[in-house]
């Protein structure tokens, strides 16, 4: 067998794993690896302008496709720059493989030039990480990394490769199999527990499904829909779960939690059965946890046992892959058709009640006035794309407006930083998604604050012909911070005013992208239409009402049943309520 270098082993192994794209930035200790990439036909290398951008782009790639995203960076600052991206992926259970160069093994620990203990630094924010000390371990390490990243509850894995390891030569054979005696995720739910769950569902008079990112990760949206439709159960989703159940479905209540809909929060509050699926009772979802569904029995389906009973008492826990469990649960429920018909009839009043809540406080905002309402921009993007777009968001008010006003019908179409809440995520994530899905329309709805955190990636989009459409919701503020200061700190806008904002149109043009601006509501539609028609990266500057707030809202620490609403006229409410598209009746005939 011919001996090849560690660098070549790395590239060959990545190919065996089906990797087609790597995001990253080179440096001293990874020169050997980059040399092995030169002229490589099967793997496309995308040079980002910041390593955080590379990590988020890999993350966006993974969210859009379900395949692990790969980033490759140098040691020291290159590695530390990826940490936010890694932590972000960790919180949202996104499969990433991040490859960092390291100083030569004999130099490790000597404070060598560009040395950082990246394995130590990322230990708490990776699913697992490796320092490869011997080139003979490299292929197996890569095999294990991809296996760990994509199986069980997915997550980021980091491989730290010292310079001498990528230079050393050895025989290469990619391992066929991998097995780790200490890592055995549970994929199939306990049969008895599933039976219990089916019985509880059949008995429930006021059931609600509360589903999260686990539905997306396990590709279970079909099974979720079947569960909801067959048993006529209303569904609410977390931010991470959006797209896991059709946003236009008559059984869909909208998102729940801090900025969720009134109907979703009230339905949970009054329910007698909460079916939690691939969701983890995050504090932004539950509000005051003791007031979360106080009368309900809880079923909790999750692949990660640590999620179960972490924040809330669960009556029927089912550990397993969401999709597998739902398949079994659906089978179980279908066995008793008659019983089910009877139950569903008894649930009539519940559906009536839910409908009342929907009409009482639909998502609505105050229209009119000279300025552009940010919600209007989101509605228009939804309308003009027909919902056929991948939308990456940043973090802040605009993110919540996307979650509220864009009706995601399909999984893997909203890319949003849920757990870590990372400003600056959206644009590089959109780039990653666009690389993965060249034929799809990819939007980044950005905050003006967030966009400036990774704006340098405009160069990446332009050079690589990635026609991402950035819609900057320009309110001149770190809007979400300002909102809290308005509501809870007596309008003392400390540190939240974004003075010195650049001219986004000129900025886009400076990078060779297209810049456009809308200053009044009448210009919004034209700008979006044109942006969609241009086959280049576009930055749209939507100068919006600066002090618009996200409503409804549950103040921090409050109970979800005590929501605060914005000022909306009766008429607007009525219109919004009527707008909820009902593709058929909720109740069985």
């Amino acid at each position: 067998m011919m001996k090849i270098t560690g660098a070549e082993i790395l590239i060959e192994s990545l190919k065996k794993e089906g990797v087609d794209i790597i995001f990253g930035i080179p440096g001293g200790v990874v020169l050997q690896i980059f040399d092995a990439l030169y002229n490589e036909k099967e793997i496309r290398f995308i040079l980002t302008r910041h390593e955080q951008g590379a990590a988020h782009a890999a993350d966006g790639y993974a969210r859009a496709t379900g395949r692990p995203g790969v980033a490759l960076v140098t040691s020291g600052p290159g590695a530390t720059n990826t940490v936010t991206g890694i932590a972000n992926a960790h919180m949202d259970s996104i499969p990433l493989v991040v490859i960092t160069g390291q100083v030569a093994t004999r130099m490790i620990g000597n404070d060598a030039f560009q040395e950082a203990d990246i394995v130590g630094i990322t230990r708490p924010c990776t699913k697992y990480n490796f320092l490869v000390k011997d080139v003979n371990d490299l292929a197996m390490t890569i095999k294990e990394s991809f296996y760990i990243a994509r199986t069980g509850r997915p997550g980021p894995v980091l491989i730290d490769i010292p310079k001498d390891v990528s230079e050393a030569r050895t025989d290469f054979a990619y391992p066929e199999k991998v097995s780790l005696r200490s890592y055995n995720p549970t994929y199939y739910g306990n049969k008895w527990q599933i039976k219990q769950a089916a019985q509880a569902i059949a008995r429930a008079k006021r059931p609600v499904i509360y589903a999260g990112g686990g539905v997306i990760l396990s590709n279970a949206s079909g099974e979720l829909k079947e569960l909801a439709e067959f048993n006529h159960i209303p569904v609410t989703l977390t931010l991470m779960g959006l797209g896991g159940f059709p946003g236009t479905h008559p059984l869909f209540l909208g998102m729940l939690g801090m900025h969720g809909t009134y109907a979703a929060n009230m339905a949970i509050h009054h329910s007698d059965l909460v079916i939690a699926i691939g969701s983890r009772f995050d504090d932004r979802v539950t509000g005051k946890v003791t007031e979360f569904a106080p009368k309900a029995v809880f079923i909790h389906i999750d692949i990660d046992p640590t999620n179960i009973r972490k924040n809330i008492h669960v009556d029927i826990p089912i550990v397993g892959d969401v999709r597998n469990v739902l398949i079994e649960l659906n089978k179980e429920l279908k066995a008793s058709q008659e019983e089910r018909d009877q139950c569903i009839r008894e649930r009539g009043p519940w559906h009536e009640q839910v409908k009342e809540w929907e009409e009482e406080h639909p998502l609505a905002y105050k229209k009119g006035g000279k300025g552009i309402k940010p919600q209007y921009v989101i509605e228009k993007i939804y309308e003009l794309t027909g919902g056929n777009a991948i939308v990456a968001t940043d973090v802040g008010q605009h993110q919540m407006w996307v979650a509220q006003y864009f009706k995601f019908d399909k999984p893997r179409t909203i890319l949003s930083s849920g757990g870590l809440g990372t400003m600056g995520f959206g644009f590089p994530a959109a780039i990653g998604a666009q690389v993965a899905c060249p034929d799809k329309l990819v939007f980044n709805v950005a905050g003006d604050g967030s966009f400036q955190m990774n704006v340098q990636e405009l160069a990446t989009a332009v050079i690589n012909h990635l026609p991402v459409k950035v819609a900057v919701i320009n309110n001149g503020y770190l809007g979400m911070v300002r909102q809290w200061q308005e509501l809870f700190f007596n309008r003392r806008y400390s540190g939240s005013i974004l003075d010195g904002t650049p001219d986004y149109v000129k900025l886009a043009e400076a990078y060779g992208a297209v810049g456009m601006r809308a200053k009044s509501p009448s210009e919004v539609e034209g700008v979006i239409k044109e942006a969609i028609s241009v086959k280049r990266p576009v930055v749209m500057d939507f100068v919006v009402d600066p002090e618009e707030n996200v409503f409804p809202m549950v103040p921090a620490g409050g109970a979800n049943s005590e929501m605060v609403f914005g000022e909306v006229s009766k008429e607007e409410k009525g219109k919004a309520a009527g707008k909820k598209e009902r593709k058929g009746s909720v109740l069985p005939a």
Binding site: G120, S182, T306, K310
Partner: protein
């Protein structure tokens, strides 16, 4: 309530840090930790003593199991188990009456003098916490120079077959 958790882990570098990092990162406390080898050189054994209500202990055990390098976790507190710790106690013994007193105490506790100089004895004692605290209290008036303790290790008592129990074969030292 105090729990003694016994953990089998891959004997790899960084594993101790993963385990201790889990405790610090999630705000669980470690009252005692000890690490040693096992019959299988690729596996290490950790004993951790921690405090918490049922919910916290359940989380600790689940979180430990979730670590990729953890092979097995057992909460010994749910079983019958034996805990031991060894202490090395160095005392001042310049006066001869102190030396004889020290030897007397050592004998009572079935401890051993493992090093002696004209002015000091070093006493080795193994036992449970009560025993070690008791000998320390008795030696204190003589003047303790230094104490080093191993931290606790624990093992489950072997379950006996019914017949053996009837014959009363269990010997408890």
């Amino acid at each position: 309530m105090q729990h003694i958790i016994s953990i089998l882990v891959e004997n790899k570098f960084g594993v101790l840090s993963r385990v201790s990092g889990l405790f610090s990162g999630r705000g669980f406390n470690i009252e005692n930790i000890s690490v040693g080898t096992t019959l299988d050189p690729s596996v290490s054994q950790m004993t951790i003593i921690t405090q918490g209500d049922d919910r916290i202990i359940e989380q600790i055990i689940k979180q430990l199991n979730k670590l990729i390098d953890v092979i097995k976790v057992v909460d010994l507190s749910e079983k019958d188990y034996i805990v031991r710790e060894t202490a090395l106690i160095k005392i001042h013994t310049s006066r001869s009456e102190d030396r004889s007193e020290a030897l007397r105490i050592t004998e009572i506790f079935r401890a051993r003098v493992v090093d002696s100089t004209p002015t000091t004895y070093t006493i080795e004692i193994t036992g449970d916490e009560n025993k070690i605290e008791a000998i320390i209290n008795l030696l204190r008036p003589l003047g303790i120079k230094e104490i080093v303790r191993t931290g606790k290790i624990a093992i489950a008592r072997e379950e006996m077959k019914a017949a053996a129990i009837q014959e009363g074969k269990r010997i408890r030292a």
